[in-house]
């Protein structure tokens, strides 16, 4: 009996410590609400209806340049952008694997800028691309592939090991959003309604080596194979961002690869595409040509929706009640956000409403 009591007490002690640690861990983890909101992009997917015909994967050139709301409103295409800041190609691959656990889109669109990074780059971006994923083999492999030398896998399992010292930096947001973030995105799209014309775009600095790394080619091959196994059409795109530079030598490598494997490759920086989409870097970018604003993203989606519909026979699903209900909510939030940002611009001169 005494032994049982000791055992029970020990278990109770471990349980109490575990609960307190878990509670503390949640408190000190970044909430990504007022600042660096992009940190919530990956986790936001799990709140969606997970019924999408088109899945975008890639870096900021995905989640800031294509408007899923426009695709829905104009073509009845249900789409989602699983994008994150500086998303590396192996992260895109594992996010695709992760997404396929929940749904099977008809088309996957991959933005090829990340082919430029052949090695893990930066812990902060890694955390934003990985921590929001639910646990699965894909997440574990993503961690293994992404970690920089300074990182430990254990700190992804127990984020408290990474963030424990944030106790001295806690803000009201850490308590307000303790139980979860509020939706900040629109099917993975990050919306900006301000405009800043592209001016003085500098000369690109030549590179000593333009060859993409074997690692990147391997993951692009795996992505292609995974799509083929699931009867998904893979489409390669280069979004219309003027910076970071997209070198002609890089473009040629992707063009050759796409041609070899019969993949569609659309470089939206090409003159004919800029003309077709109508993107104007005077009015359709909010940061001088790096990313499109909502007006540019809608123009791009308008053209791209037509392309997807025509080439891959995507159906207008706007009449389906379940999708209708989900998208009505997304669209309402989207248009309200445009209005809110425009009001802030008028009143404060910035979209965030900072006095």
């Amino acid at each position: 009996m005494a032994n049982k009591k000791v055992l029970f007490s020990g278990l109770a002690m471990v349980l109490t410590a575990g609960v307190l640690l878990a509670a503390y861990q949640r408190l000190v983890q970044p909430k990504y609400m007022s600042d660096v909101v992009e940190g919530n992009l990956i986790a936001d997917y799990y709140n969606s209806g997970k019924d999408h015909d088109v899945l975008f994967i890639g870096d900021c050139e995905c989640y800031e340049n294509f408007s899923p709301v426009k695709l829905w409103e104009q073509y009845g295409i249900s789409s989602y952008i699983r994008g994150s800041a500086q998303q590396l190609i192996w992260q895109s691959y594992y996010l695709l694997e992760d997404t396929l656990r929940y749904e099977k889109p008809k088309v996957v669109v991959f933005n090829v800028l990340s082919m430029k990074y052949g090695e893990p780059q930066n812990e902060a971006y890694n955390r934003m691309s990985i921590e929001g994923m639910k646990w699965s083999g894909a997440k574990i492999n993503n961690i293994k592939a992404s970690m920089t030398e300074e990182e430990s896998a254990l700190s992804y399992v127990f984020p408290v090991l990474r963030y424990h010292s944030r106790w001295s930096e806690l803000t009201a947001d850490d308590f307000r959003y303790y139980f979860g973030a509020e939706p900040n995105f629109f099917s993975g799209y990050y919306l900006r309604a301000d405009a800043k014309a592209a001016e003085n775009v500098p000369n690109p600095t030549p590179l000593t080596d333009y060859a993409f790394s074997d690692t990147c080619w391997d993951y692009l091959g795996k992505m292609m194979q995974l799509c083929a196994e699931n009867h998904i059409q893979l489409v390669l795109v280069k979004a219309p961002s003027l910076y970071p530079f997209w070198y002609d030598e890089w473009d040629q490598q992707i063009t050759d690869y796409a041609s070899k494997y019969h993949l569609p490759y659309l470089n939206f920086l090409n003159e004919d595409k800029l003309e077709a989409t109508g993107i104007d870097f005077e009015t359709d970018t909010y940061d001088g040509g790096l990313h499109l604003n909502v007006y540019g993203a809608e123009k791009l989606a308008d053209w791209f929706g037509g392309y997807l519909t025509e080439k891959f026979d995507l159906q207008d699903r706007s009449h389906e009640p379940q999708l209708q209900a989900e998208w009505n909510d997304i669209c309402a939030r989207y248009h309200a956000e445009v209005d809110r940002q425009l009001q802030n611009l008028e009143q404060y001169g910035n979209v965030k409403g900072e006095a």
Partner: protein, 210 residues
């Protein structure tokens, strides 16, 4: 039993205190701020900056280290670019240099994705000065690159865009590294690269190296 529960609570509190306490020495508690520049590049730049500040005293040592690899001519190469009397040392803090250079003809801002740091491209005639945010302090920008983009600017050794590969060899000697597309001369942490189009130089870049 109450004593055991009390002990459990004390242990838990102690565990939390340990976690909090050990974090007090760790300033980079949140995911560290970052720029589009890779961490490796930033580190290299920091190393370069540290070396540059000690450049005068370590010049002799550097020469000894690289003597085996350098020709007599390349030992004289300067890896810091002088623009309008201001010396630009890649890797060092940008603000004092930019102030000394005066107003640029144009400025291009490249904000880091998701973070607050901004890379800048300042244009002074045929010279483009590129800065990037420090990896650990995004309010601090460092000099990353100096690009000579046309023939209005020449290196300290007198080579400019449009000159031939032979002109380059005559002034700089044998490159430390070359391909048909470029010739590079480097010292620890810094390099000057001459990009070629056929026999002619099309762009010159002073930069940090890993």
């Amino acid at each position: 039993m109450n004593k055991k529960l009390l002990a459990a609570a004390v242990c838990s509190a102690a565990l939390l205190t340990m976690l909090c306490g050990c974090g007090a020495d760790n300033n980079s508690s949140t995911a560290p701020a970052s720029s589009e520049s890779s961490a490796a590049e930033s580190s290299a730049a920091e190393e370069s900056a540290a070396e540059s500040s000690e450049e005068a005293s370590s010049e002799a040592e550097s020469s000894e280290e690289s003597a085996a690899e350098q020709t007599a001519e390349t030992a004289q190469i300067t890896f810091d670019y002088v623009l309008n009397g201001t010396t630009i040392v890649v890797g060092e803090e940008a603000a004092p240099v930019l102030e000394a250079l005066g107003e640029a003809e144009s400025v291009f801002e490249a904000p880091s994705c998701a973070f607050t740091g901004v890379s800048y491209y300042y244009t002074y005639g045929g010279v483009q000065v590129v800065t990037y945010p420090d990896e650990h302090d995004q309010s601090l920008n460092r000099l990353y690159e100096v690009d000579l983009v046309d023939d209005t600017a020449a290196t300290n050794e007198g080579i400019k865009v449009g000159d031939t590969y032979d002109d380059l060899l005559a002034k700089y000697g044998t490159p430390d590294q070359e391909t048909p597309a470029y010739a590079m001369y480097q010292t620890e942490g810094k390099a000057v690269r001459f990009f070629l189009e056929g026999e002619n130089i099309k762009q010159i870049v002073y930069t940090i190296v890993m």
